[in-house]
Symmetry: C3
Subunit: 466 residues, 3 copies
């Protein structure tokens, strides 16, 4: 049976009619604001080359780990979906997905995808086994048109600025190409040094040599290594970056004396280090990065708490980022103290904290951000970037940190069209939350209107110095 697809104008608003009316009005006031996308993982080559995104499966299925992890959990082989397997028939992969679309009921993927299907591609029936081919053809055909090229979609969805993330080893050629082009879209980079900061990253030691080559510094010496970071940060900043990003397993920071740090770096460079050495080195590097942020003004993002590549068999066959990263319990109060003891009261420093451990929201993160001038809270992240997740974030952080120690929304996505879809969800949920505060007379309606614009646009722009 083929079912209609429609995006209800009141979707995601609270059910109570009085609250919903307030939410609707707030949302109307912010729905048209430009999108600030200050953190994400889209590919700058898209905007440099402006080529077609290809077929439906390559565009919407293969790059979306939210989608293929769910299908894998229900017994579909990743290779059959085209993940790590360019030989698969994309239409066949798409059918496997379409037949199982009911698995996504109640998930944010369903919300984002339906938005993309209906709003972007104009589809009017729901995805399912019976409509798989219709979808594949409609989407693939649209993608071939000029109107669905990367730059056109960027403009269609009113993206004011989009940040990608690159390794210090990246030459930023795509960003250079974008800047050299006549296109006016603002696509900037962010400095993500994990490949040269995390001793347990694949190829770390070789990456140090590449970093030496790129910078002319001796990255086997502590001084040279730090100087190389400074040079690359300056280069990234010159290419538009306003932030750095750090994806460590924990939020641990350290404050080693210079001699200790040098000796630790020697051990790391030698390759003969144990997991504690690696953790301590990452910890020290967060503090070093904070020091550099005070110098160069880049806003620092810390995204801790993922157990990367948890499924060993998947990692061995398909590599990183295959939907097998798992959140872990994450401490902040003890972990951040060494860094905060150094720089926590420095007005030039700005650190945006993220978490995959919601139990830290009210217990650690809101109290920290509600005191330290350098700390702000990033939005509900990754597994928690969802209606219920965003509501928990607001309910558990606002009372202690307020709204103004948060930084608006981040989509943090690799799936390009999920950017406008996710921002729409975030705006709806925030407006619903504000409407509840108005309905309970906890804030006035005019305050909610100011806040709606702040949460949708102003805070992100200010926090990321855009």
């Amino acid at each position: 049976m083929i079912r209609p697809l429609e995006l209800h104008p009141d979707r995601l608003f609270p059910a109570d009619p009085a609250v919903r009316a307030v939410a609707r009005e707030l949302y109307e006031s912010v729905r048209g604001l430009p999108i600030i996308s200050p953190h994400g993982h889209t590919d700058p080559a898209w905007f440099a080359g402006n080529e077609s995104f290809g077929n439906a499966a390559d565009f919407l299925l293969v790059p979306d780990h939210y989608v293929f992890r769910m299908l894998y959990s229900q017994g579909v082989a990743l290779q059959d979906l085209g993940v790590g397997n360019p030989d698969v028939d994309p239409r066949a992969a798409w059918r496997l997905f379409a037949e199982r679309y009911h698995l996504f009921r109640g998930t944010p993927s369903r919300l984002w995808l339906d938005w993309v299907f209906a709003e972007c591609f104009g589809l009017t029936v729901q995805l399912g086994a019976a409509t798989a081919d219709q979808y594949f053809d409609a989407i693939t055909s649209a993608l071939a048109s000029e109107a669905f090229r990367p730059r056109a979609l960027f403009e269609r969805y009113n993206i004011e600025v989009l940040a990608t993330t690159e390794s210090p080893l990246d030459n930023l050629e795509h960003h250079a190409a974008i800047r050299a082009s006549s296109w006016q879209g603002r696509v900037i980079t962010a400095y993500r040094p994990d490949p040269v900061v995390d001793p347990e990253f694949e190829g770390f030691r070789a990456n140090l040599d590449l970093l030496s080559d790129l910078t002319g510094e001796d990255c086997t010496s502590w001084a040279g290594y730090l100087a190389a970071h400074r040079k690359r940060r300056a280069f990234f900043a010159a290419m538009g970056a306003t932030s750095t990003d750090h994806g460590h397993p924990t939020a641990l920071t350290a404050n080693l004396a210079r001699g200790e740090a040098e000796r630790l770096f020697e051990v790391i460079v030698s390759g003969d280090f144990n997991p504690y050495d690696a953790e301590l080195f990452r910890a020290q590097m967060l503090t070093e990065m904070a020091a550099m942020s005070i110098e160069d003004g880049l806003v620092m993002q810390i995204h801790p708490g993922a157990f990367r590549n948890h499924n060993d068999a998947v990692f061995q066959t398909l590599g990183r980022d295959k939907g097998a990263d798992m959140p872990m319990r994450t401490d902040y109060v003890h972990a951040l103290k060494p860094l905060l003891d150094c720089y926590g009261n420095n007005p030039a420093l700005s650190i945006i904290l993220f978490t995959l451990d919601e139990s830290a929201y009210a217990r650690e993160l809101a109290p920290l951000a509600g005191h330290y001038p350098c700390l702000k809270l990033g939005p509900a992240w990754w597994f928690h970037d969802s209606p219920e997740g965003m509501r928990r974030f607001r309910r558990m952080t606002t009372e202690t940190a307020g709204f103004y120690n948060t930084v608006g929304f981040n989509d943090d996505t690799r799936a390009f069209l999920s950017i406008p879809a996710r921002h729409d969800v975030a705006r709806r949920i925030d407006c619903g939350f504000l409407a509840e505060l108005v309905a309970e007379h906890r804030i006035a309606d005019w305050e909610a209107a100011e806040l709606a614009a702040d949460l949708s646009y102003n805070l992100a722009k200010a926090a990321y110095r855009l």
Copy 2:
């Protein structure tokens, strides 16, 4: 003052009229579905012997640790309630309970008991000091009748299948008697090997000898011990079991080389082991049990995280299961990795995970179940088997794991009539949750109807291979 007792038809549905209307309709579509009770601790002797349940106190008070723990917390001696004390006057015990019925306001026990009182026994006034004797007499008198014998109640409440849990040392005589009888009720067992798997279980060493006797294997050798498990699992499966159940303090798993496992088993058998040895042995046994599940198809349940017998004085005088078990923080992401590294991608394996630590729902359990094909999530368990607990379960797991990596409802009870009472609560709460998704236009009404039947009936049947 005597107050009326009535079960409002809209109980437990969300208050908003529009949402409630949807919930009511969904509930009407599933209220009559048969009960699948795939995990619990009722006594198979009831259905083998089909004797009367006795008096009100022996039936409803003495076996219900939810009830007597609350009374104990407010100063009533367990012995005065008849717990571990057959000499108590059951009417006097019942009065102690009745006089304190207000203590249960806001608890699930109150919901379950009122359902039993009103729906099953037809009582129309609320329990209290003034109605204690009326209750005791009415219930005791009803229990003496044919209509309140175990098999009659089983049929009255439309139970399609009921699983009990037995030790490998159990000869399953009651299950044999049920199967040999002319009664058609499906009462099956589940393999719960804790008494021969947990070195810290009371009588563990003697249990190994009993297991040797039962199986003809030498359970002081690693090979013989494993062979004995295989034999008992096969026997349980022959008696209807489709699952195993593991009540470990933690979810730790291990993957020892064969030699290491043998040496560890020697230490365990010697009795000269420390707590780390015991924990490592339990961890290894979860992995061994997973291997056997792949062979024999029994679904594996892991119920970790209870600190058993926390109140030492109560344990010394009254023994296990006296309402003194306490939940503990429980890690899954690290703990399960050794097992998952072995078998996590094996399509023949099915593991159902439970937790007493709700902070793991969104952080660990939903991400694990939303990726690994062998993992599914059991429902809100024990202290969390309650309206708010079930809502938190759905709100915190659905967005990442979806509905289809969950397995419907488990009552997990020793209190027989709480089975239909609990399933009714679960169906109402799930329908209310689905109604909220419909009201917020996150799923369509026809999808909610499919899901209501899945959550009430289909998922449990499929997950437990019933």
Copy 3:
């Protein structure tokens, strides 16, 4: 733009009209009940001397760490607010606050302050840059009048009993002065021995000598030290105390043999102890305090889980209690077992547990309080003393502990006028929660009315033996 300030009569009630109607009715039945304030940190000198509270900034800004921590998090220097700086112009400090009043949107401080501004001072416009001086003048002028003296406000807000907390080293002169006066207000003390129990407290060793001097006991011997506690507890009880209070970093308890305890105390007294010794000593002292509570009937409060003085620079320049305490993950199930093994079943003991780690509510605290007769749960505390925090407390504790293992509301404040403001919030939130239970037919309306009075008044009075 100047905006009106009004306290909506329905504030903090759930939005649904039917639920709100029930909440309103429940609230009307309890709004006039006297305030029981059994735990807090107001200054008894206020009520002894009955002097004017001074100016607006000294009264409302400088003592309120909730307020100045938020301002500090947004870049305002504490010294500029008058914190630790008597030389600041209070009007200038007040303006810094007023200009940033939007930072408090969505926080409980905003609710409490607006209540104080509107209800107590009769202000009718909202605080902001444009109204800063008007506020400063109106409040400062009111504070100079008789009607705003401490005793008058105590009576105006119908406070039946107010407990302060003092160190064993305090001579309780202000309490003596209050008792010696003709004023009838009941202001009592509570025994907070941290300065002589926590070896890591500033001045601990000197404090032992002071305790020796005060009691005539040799507080460098274990027996003398314990005897000194007994004497001071008896003195505090004679001055009205009905409780003790313990602000340890963790909830760890210990049960050392007498010889071990003596040896540990020697190490502590010598000053040559490590952090483990200090933690073990605090742990042992909780058990010793429980033993003394059984003797003298003082109710024991445990407030664990704060990382005190997290911001080292702030601590070095401004000292304790400057808004830089941070919650930590807190274990109860293991930590309390040694104490509970000793005294957990003793009917004379009453311990009220608090937490800053909400993940413990449903997992540990409600199960413990729902079993052990000596344990009760304190209300949502500190960062969680807020509308959402209180709702989470009720939702996560009630189903396992019931209402009757909780103890009503504590304001726990240093900000005097936040006492009636906070009790008003607590009554509204509890009535709203009860109204939801009524609307979902989980309790009857007459039960909700009983519970509303219990939660607002009766439970606190009973639990604190007032």
